[in-house]
């Protein structure tokens, strides 16, 4: 608590709370942003720091905290804009690509069978690289190594579409990180990053998502921060986005310098988050506010 206060005071001019840190609305985006960081700082100074992991039986998907209309959007595939991306992904799965002229389907067959449960266990250890890779990196390895095609850019329409289509095949499955000792040190790195204070606000992920979930930050309920619906359609983004985009979003919120997409730090955090959410149900493509 004291450390948080001192950290914040060092940057006091940036994080002065606004007079009404509640339902403030309107104004320019810069104003909103300034007010938001103000809220963040204001709330954080009030937080009690306990740094304990969430007990397994208290974990909940952010779906549970959504408004009726957002739930309805996720529940109905014909109303969920994330499904438009999934349909693009299905087309990509079947489309021949690269110098080899092969489609994903030519090797993997029907994704509904071959990809079932895959995103529920990623990231996995890739021996050739001696490090873990996530679904997007697996897709690009397939493209460059097997199809002899150019890799998709992270967050590109095609990358999101194909990863959404692959991840949809695990919808309803429990998150099941592999019992692979080679992953252990990377997962520990992820845990360290999750608990490490960073940025101008001097916050850690854990301070919000382990210690203060369920409370409000401005008008939002602080989520537990589970990775169980990605890629997902976020109303704020007005588009589909990856887990790494969400992590980047949080880091910008903490006023920390975000990593490059695909950075080992992000993959380590994905590993830790998936382990932290083990057993929870995959919702891809989820909808979030």
């Amino acid at each position: 608590m004291k450390r948080a206060g001192r950290g914040l005071n060092e940057h006091g001019t940036l994080v002065t709370p606004p007079p009404h840190p509640s339902l403030a609305s309107g104004g320019g985006s810069r104003l909103r942003l300034a007010a938001s960081f103000g809220c963040l700082a204001y709330v954080m100074t009030c937080f009690a720091i306990s740094a304990a992991e969430i007990p397994q039986n208290e974990r909940r998907s952010s779906y549970a905290d959504m408004a009726r209309d957002s739930k309805a959007m996720q529940d109905d595939d014909t109303a969920n804009p994330g499904m438009l991306s999934v349909l693009d992904g299905e087309a990509l799965w079947k489309a021949k690509a690269g110098a080899v002229g092969k489609a994903c389907a030519d090797c993997h067959g029907d994704a509904r069978a071959s990809m079932k449960g895959v995103s529920a266990r990623y990231p996995v250890f890739e021996p050739k690289l001696s490090r873990p890779i996530n679904i997007e990196q697996r897709i690009n390895l397939c493209r460059t190594e097997q199809q002899k095609a150019s890799p998709f850019a992270f967050e590109s329409k095609d990358m999101l579409a194909l990863s959404a289509y692959v991840s949809l095949q695990s919808r309803g499955q429990p998150i099941a990180p592999p019992d692979d000792q080679r992953l252990a040190p990377f997962r520990e790195t992820g845990r360290t990053l999750f608990n490490q204070r960073q940025g101008q606000l001097n916050l850690s992920c854990a301070q919000c998502h382990d210690d203060n979930w369920g409370k409000r930050l401005a008008a939002n309920i602080i989520p537990q921060g589970h990775p169980n619906g990605y890629p997902l359609y976020r109303l704020e983004w007005q588009s589909v986005g990856s887990l790494q985009r969400r992590l980047r979003n949080c880091m910008i919120g903490m006023r920390a310098e975000a990593y490059e997409y695909g950075a080992p730090e992000y993959v380590a955090m994905e590993l830790y988050l998936m382990w932290r959410a083990r057993g929870m149900t995959v919702e891809t493509p989820a909808v979030r506010p």
Partner: protein, 106 residues
């Protein structure tokens, strides 16, 4: 071609009122947003959505910037005969997309 999702019952009884749900991928850029380097992002929206049933127009909508990205529109029609429902979206920068679904009316 923009991806669209149409939900119409495959079969209906003659005279039955059926619900039609439509969803299309489009960013509906309002023209009011500022992009990187402070430059305004130009407007790019779907302006018109029309549904015809066996060639006859049964629904028409004019959309404005206040329609959310990836426009979702639901409406109703009376199932009068078997045939085709055709959907057409048109908008800025020559945007045009069509979809059609068949319905069996008994």
């Amino acid at each position: 071609m923009a991806r669209a999702l149409i939900n119409v019952p495959a079969k209906a009884k003659r005279g039955e009122i059926i619900a039609i749900k439509t969803l299309i991928s489009h960013h509906m850029e309002s023209g009011f947003r500022v992009g990187p380097m402070g430059v305004m992002i130009p407007r790019d929206i779907i302006e018109t959505f029309v549904c015809t049933y066996n060639g006859e127009e049964i629904f028409r909508a004019s959309l404005y910037q206040a329609i959310a990205a990836n426009p979702f529109i639901t409406f109703n029609t009376v199932a009068i005969a078997s045939g085709t429902l055709e959907f057409k979206w048109t908008g800025d920068n020559g945007f045009s997309a069509t979809e059609s679904v068949n319905i069996i009316v008994e």
